[in-house]
Point group: D2
Amino acid sequence: MDKIKVAVLGATGMIGQRFIEMLEDHPYFEMEGLYASERSEGKRLRDVLKVRDHVYKEETLDRKIEVMDVRKIAKNDRIAFSGIPSDLAGPTETELAEAGVGVFTNAGSHRMDADVPILIPEVNPDHLFSVKDQKTFSNGGFIVTNANCSSTGIAAPLAVLNDTWGLKEVFISTYQALSGAGYPGVPSLDAVGNVVPFIKNEEEKMESELAKMLGKYSNGKFEFAGFRTFANCARVPVVDGHLESLTIRLGSEPSVEELIERFEAFRGEPQKLDLPSAPPQPIIVRREDNRPQPAFDVFAGGTGRSKGMAITLGRIRKKEEFYKIFALSHNTLRGGAGGSVLNAELAVKKNLL
Amino acid sequence: MDKIKVAVLGATGMIGQRFIEMLEDHPYFEMEGLYASERSEGKRLRDVLKVRDHVYKEETLDRKIEVMDVRKIAKNDRIAFSGIPSDLAGPTETELAEAGVGVFTNAGSHRMDADVPILIPEVNPDHLFSVKDQKTFSNGGFIVTNANCSSTGIAAPLAVLNDTWGLKEVFISTYQALSGAGYPGVPSLDAVGNVVPFIKNEEEKMESELAKMLGKYSNGKFEFAGFRTFANCARVPVVDGHLESLTIRLGSEPSVEELIERFEAFRGEPQKLDLPSAPPQPIIVRREDNRPQPAFDVFAGGTGRSKGMAITLGRIRKKEEFYKIFALSHNTLRGGAGGSVLNAELAVKKNLL
Amino acid sequence: MDKIKVAVLGATGMIGQRFIEMLEDHPYFEMEGLYASERSEGKRLRDVLKVRDHVYKEETLDRKIEVMDVRKIAKNDRIAFSGIPSDLAGPTETELAEAGVGVFTNAGSHRMDADVPILIPEVNPDHLFSVKDQKTFSNGGFIVTNANCSSTGIAAPLAVLNDTWGLKEVFISTYQALSGAGYPGVPSLDAVGNVVPFIKNEEEKMESELAKMLGKYSNGKFEFAGFRTFANCARVPVVDGHLESLTIRLGSEPSVEELIERFEAFRGEPQKLDLPSAPPQPIIVRREDNRPQPAFDVFAGGTGRSKGMAITLGRIRKKEEFYKIFALSHNTLRGGAGGSVLNAELAVKKNLL
Amino acid sequence: MDKIKVAVLGATGMIGQRFIEMLEDHPYFEMEGLYASERSEGKRLRDVLKVRDHVYKEETLDRKIEVMDVRKIAKNDRIAFSGIPSDLAGPTETELAEAGVGVFTNAGSHRMDADVPILIPEVNPDHLFSVKDQKTFSNGGFIVTNANCSSTGIAAPLAVLNDTWGLKEVFISTYQALSGAGYPGVPSLDAVGNVVPFIKNEEEKMESELAKMLGKYSNGKFEFAGFRTFANCARVPVVDGHLESLTIRLGSEPSVEELIERFEAFRGEPQKLDLPSAPPQPIIVRREDNRPQPAFDVFAGGTGRSKGMAITLGRIRKKEEFYKIFALSHNTLRGGAGGSVLNAELAVKKNLL
């Protein structure tokens, strides 16, 4: 098939550059333009580089950043991958959808909109079709969001538990990486040798997004899931990789081994459709004493395009009626750009593009 | 009064050196000898220095380390402050008590013994008298333990809640500092830019120690408190200062302001007795958005001898019937050597020495 | 004597807050006002706190920040301690001097001015009198700068060497702390697990400032010292404490022991005058294998007001005609606010205020 | 051709595991066995994993560690790649060579032996033939060492300068990564937020190894190069990647542009022979203000097998007759296991195996 032309919005930021990483040589998509604010106009990617561990191709590094221009993007691109800050993202993304562009965004602005899905293809692939109810859909434009990075890191395991045994309560504490705050983000004087137990609106986002994602879309409405979530969010001096502790009460009391078995056996729509960025096994369970760790598990998922796209669980314990689990995910790949790329891949396979 | 002669055991380690810090110029105690294993015999404190932020006196730095010798200690000292590793601590401390020495220890070996208190003077000062039931007490010897550092960091706030409204359940996640693992402890390759979600036996210790401390000692027996604790423990790249997230259910539903009021008003036995290492206000509540943080709050307590002896709470929130709180304490001062020094100060005032 | 009223400019920044730390209970000075830009007007110090290790007094934390206002400062204060960014500092400091205020500044704007001294009281106390040639001096106003933090950290040892044996060449590499870049300064994503081998204009500053400071002031002119300096500057993930490696060629070839002896014996004007912030021994030489280290030596100097005011040298080696030395200093105390406070103390004793 | 069977010695350590990384699917070599000390016998690689950023194949992770056994290795393997600690390495490697094995080692024990080369194929490929003078060579056994990691990181650029303009003096300061000290290596309490200005014997190694490598092998003897080296070595809290500052005097005074041109144009024997682990361009020059940095440049070299095998230079400046340069290399790839693998690849092409 012909590759679909895509724009990357926010190309000077952490998420924008993860989009670029995932779109190099993508089998479905061709990066047409890199867009950002006026401040960076004309700079090359190599001059604003932020991602540490990816070796970009030289020709990618030489690409120039353009000023964001809705009309231009609408003319050139079928898709816009958006890594722009949430305050800007809202109106820009609306304009793009109105102009007929399919927007796959990491920004939070539209996540709680009535007809906009928060999509994780392993969790709620059918939510994708809610875009058909967006009023811009008739001219081809629509908005699909990915969840907040800390929600994404646990959504699939929670969905597995919910589907099998019913979720009652989830007590969450997060150990979130610095890249989650973007660039320049957290000043180093607050980060080195420190933990900051506050991330603005993060706890609220987790609590509402998980309920929306694990809920149902029917009759043009999202029905939220009924379990309860209590989150405590903190920032730790880790570059990439959100770790989260979970203490969970279910509707019944399966054994730890039953949980592990279900997690490991789980395959979702991306695996069934063999989407390019889908990790072969979306939930990995480590049996070592001391895992998952950002240092070792952040890139779990595969060696190629799905690197960093799996979620790693570990230390699954049961005490009385509660289950204790640590979960780790790559917050700017699985929990950021990678999530939106996977969403767009699903949309391609579902003929929405 | 004449100062009481004391020995410091484990003088080459992090906790031992915090004992030395707190015993410099102490109004009740005089450091007679510094003891450690054979490996360090004859070295000066300055050659094995590990504590970063304390400026020891030059004559303290010049003191020589001696080999641990129960008979010598029993002959010279009324008290032994023990910062030795738990595997060694058990038998050595028993021998010292048998030889008539009052042992105040940071080691875990004897914490769950039937007649040994885990003492925090603000929490359970009456537990101190359980030492009278120790069979060595007749010749003056006994053992008093302080709690594990992560238990200490939340015991006083939990006791305040339990006494006022009744504790039901506590869901804990810890962000523990590297110094908690001693020296050399955690290899830097596991620490820099990483979180390790495993600390051996820590969750079990927290769950049992809190129940013992918040319980009662009566008729020669410890009766454990009935609330339930669920802990997830992790190590973060912070030098000193354990941060802990708490999600708590109480017997009733007071307002957040009522909680804050009770915490701030709380004064315990050390404050009433004006013990030298007692912080004027043992529980501090920060109202800023983003506190407590190790960087700013680890030394809370006072500017002199009680530096680092207060516990700082922050971000006190209520969601449905649950309370969410972040707590911070200095794990090797309040949660280590400082705890035992305060215990010994209490014992002096209670005429057990 | 009556205390001299002083203003602190830039009270929301790292250096400004170090000024406040050093001015609490100062025997000569009384902090009249804390000033910063409009953005922080009316905030209390506790709301903009940045310094990690100092425990400010509660009444200090409650002080409010005012908008900088030259006329007001000139009316109220004899001295302004300036911790404002260099781009603002230049004109503001000039205005203050014109209005009759004695300005002691950490900013770089006026350092290379023809009649402005870069003063380190142990190094070039006589340069202080160059202020008499400033045209504002007749009405009491003048400007005294302290050196760049990385210059300060080695100026005294280099002066000792120059005075005794003559300096020929100094090859310097720096390991500079994050606080040197102010707040927010270096983004954490550039700092954690990384080294940045570039600090704008730093190498040039070091090379010129050292020559000016170690030169002479005579006949109303600064004559620069003749040795050559070659600097390579880099930022490392350390909060406070600049480490510097030096490879030095002298005019003759004394033994390493002779160097150590001279460094340790050195006492300067602040020591002779017993200035309140003067460290008893300005240059400390460590003989351990692996010192100086920021972790252990950053606060060298004394336990009170002179904490962090000494320079620590270590690993003094000779290879062929070259001497190799590591030097450490506290970049925001000795190399920042502390330097200017010491300068003002000298000015008091020299009756310039 | 049939693949050559190779053993990895020290498979539980940082260097050993980098050997395993580079030998997975190697076109010339087949990993026959993983060897380490008795302590790790029978463990799987996954149980002793230390390398953060490589995603090992699952079947590699399942491989079991065997106890080192010279006879067994000699029977099974033509080559032993040695990542064992230097104190053990000396005699074991000698025995292996005597038993007819080609030893390619990262250990320092034999580096200064009279007939053992310190080989960097881009720098001194002809030194390889010195093995023919080793008395074990007649039965096929020999020893080839790679240089110390901090020497390797600058040897090629220095060789380019020496060959073109003649090296006179090199003043070096290092910013060395934690992985250079192996595992467990540096305790985290010494690493986080700190710099340690001491690495045992490192300065001496650099000064002697560079002279040997840049010298000549003729008439069965190594003749050392005549330039002078002055090194100051320090450890910084970086996981992988040695940064080094260089201040250099040459025999003449070319322009900075001439240096850059020579560095970029340089290709060595590995590039000419197209060795599997050879980076296409061995010396990369960055023109950005603030590079090289470990965060961005540690993996320079290529996207496949040569990832991390290039050296990155930056900030090339001239002041008077001196040149200032920052250099960065991956200390456990280029400066460790990768160096020895490249050496073995050269030996294959030169028919020594």
